[in-house]
Subunit: 325 residues, 2 copies
């Protein structure tokens, strides 16, 4: 099997196992929306990453299943509640839980998913279970903090680069650091290796998020996408936005703020923002910053034990980050 | 110190310790509403109960603090999200979090409180930490299930007594069973004693909830309260409501359903419901049911080790349940 076939196979296993968590559970009014939210899917990168780190450190594949699923549930919990907070109607083309059902169901099924995440995490015992649960919990609280910063940024125009990086570190990178570290811990890796795993996850997450910010407007592909410039239209405080506010002269700054987040924004206005970004080298700066984190992730990988799963991690990293923009 | 002075002293300790959890925490947009929600207060019965069971089984008082606080936080988490789901504006005379701030803040600060609950739970290590976390997690999921049943009951007129008892067992009794069992576990009590502690908490919770249902309409004091008959006005599926639907003849059943939950209900109509309850002996039946659980709680206490903290538990039970109706 080549890499993408192996990824598909991992994903199928994970989806089957996730599905089985909801077998014959009552009350249906709770478990049906929970199951729906978890089934909306996604690439399952977090449990896959957990599995790769686990095997990289020589763990027995069967045992890592529950911690990996728990992390995917934790991630899904954040999506259900974020969709409420961001008032989003759709996720991956499907109605969000609070839209398909109602607000109460959205709140409660999120709560149910995080409870189930802990329940699943506790199903398998490891020598260092205490540390595993601690990392899991710290990740959960960190994601809440990241979401709080993100919501706060909506009301501010003076967010600094440092604040922005802290936010995406909390909100995005934490949930890639957690599966990496937990995978290593479950396999009984040494403390220094667990720290490396975490460091890798952080770098991957930061690179991924900055790339995601770029993809909104920078890629040629994005141009033809339906959501081209949707961050600009929303006035979202992305890495590009933060740099714009920091770097532009007074006139351009004013122009930029008059367009970003404007109601009824036109495609031409989005192009104008892109031109402003280009004028100040903002796209390039963001690409360089992403590249810096990609390099960091790569140099962490080089410090991990050699073997087929280190290669798997390299392929995984390239796959996560090889996006055109 | 007499019992009520000791309770006050326990409560003060708990409040001080809760407050210290929020020292210098950022982001403020997350921790300020979390702190507010936790400070709205309450009687702190769950951490107190945890402490009593802990000392009853000979534990060192200092060590039980964090598990006890974690349970109080868990309880507060459920209140913040329940207030959103029930669209309640006030809690103990203070604005609820989602009203004082906004919906997003309500959702997120609830999430933050449950995360913090786990973080606090993990601060102290015990020989049976694994089991403690498991009981805590089962309680969390059970409360979600109970809330789901409760919300579902709003749309139904055919809720059975059995379904109702399951709901309050999940929603109310679980969060009294959890502190009892965890208190015993932290002190290293034997498995049979932990099961007794849990059984006591369940009985206490069921008795407490049925009494709460009765207090809405049955007491002489309630008559003069501002919220007299508010469950009737809301058409809430209380134990009394369930019995009414089960026992009334067709005519009275029709009359009852035409009043309960009616918009712009009058005080006279609430009296009419009370008369219907009296006609079918519903208040008496509910009192008997509460008394049955009170007796059960008492007989569990008699099986616990003798000593000053068994007496404390007796006093605590009497204090929790000695409410006029």
């Amino acid at each position: 099997m080549d890499f993408s076939e192996r990824m598909s196979s991992y994903r199928d296993d994970i989806n089957r196992s996730l599905e089985s968590l909801f077998d014959k559970k009552s009350p249906e009014v709770l478990y049906e929306p929970m199951r729906y939210a978890v089934n909306i899917g996604g690439k399952r990168v977090r449990p896959i990453l957990c599995g790769i780190f686990y095997r990289l450190f020589g763990g027995d594949p069967a045992k890592v299943l529950y911690p990996a699923l728990a992390i995917e549930l934790l991630h899904n919990f954040t999506l259900v509640h974020d969709d409420i907070m961001d008032d989003d109607d759709l996720r991956r083309g499907n109605k969000t839980v609070h839209v398909k059902w109602d607000l109460s169901t959205g709140v409660l099924s999120g709560d149910g998913i995080v409870s189930l995440a802990y329940k699943v995490l506790l199903k398998e015992k490891f020598e260092r279970s205490g540390e595993i649960i601690r990392i899991f919990t710290d990740g959960l609280l960190e994601v809440c903090e990241g979401q709080a910063y993100d919501k706060e940024f909506e009301t501010r125009n003076d967010v600094t680069e440092k604040e922005y990086v802290r936010m995406i570190n909390n909100k995005t990178a934490a949930l890639l650091a957690v599966p990496s570290a937990i995978g290593a811990l479950c396999a009984g890796a040494g403390e220094d290796m667990v720290r490396l795993a975490e460091k890798y996850g952080r770098a991957l997450g930061l690179a991924f998020q900055i790339q995601d910010d770029l993809l909104d407007i920078a890629g040629d592909e994005a141009l033809f996408g339906k959501t081209y410039g949707s961050d600009v239209a929303e006035g979202k405080k992305t890495y590009l936005y933060i740099l714009a506010v920091k770097l532009m002269n007074e006139e351009d700054h004013k122009l930029f703020l008059s367009i970003a987040g404007k109601e009824g924004i036109t495609r031409n206005e989005i192009f104008e923002v892109r031109k402003l970004y280009e004028k100040y080298g903002i796209l390039e700066k963001a690409e360089n910053e992403a590249a810096r984190y990609i390099k960091e992730a790569g140099s962490v990988i080089d410090l991990l034990p050699e073997g087929p799963f280190r290669n798997e991690l390299k392929e995984f990293t390239a796959w996560m980050l090889k996006r055109k923009y």
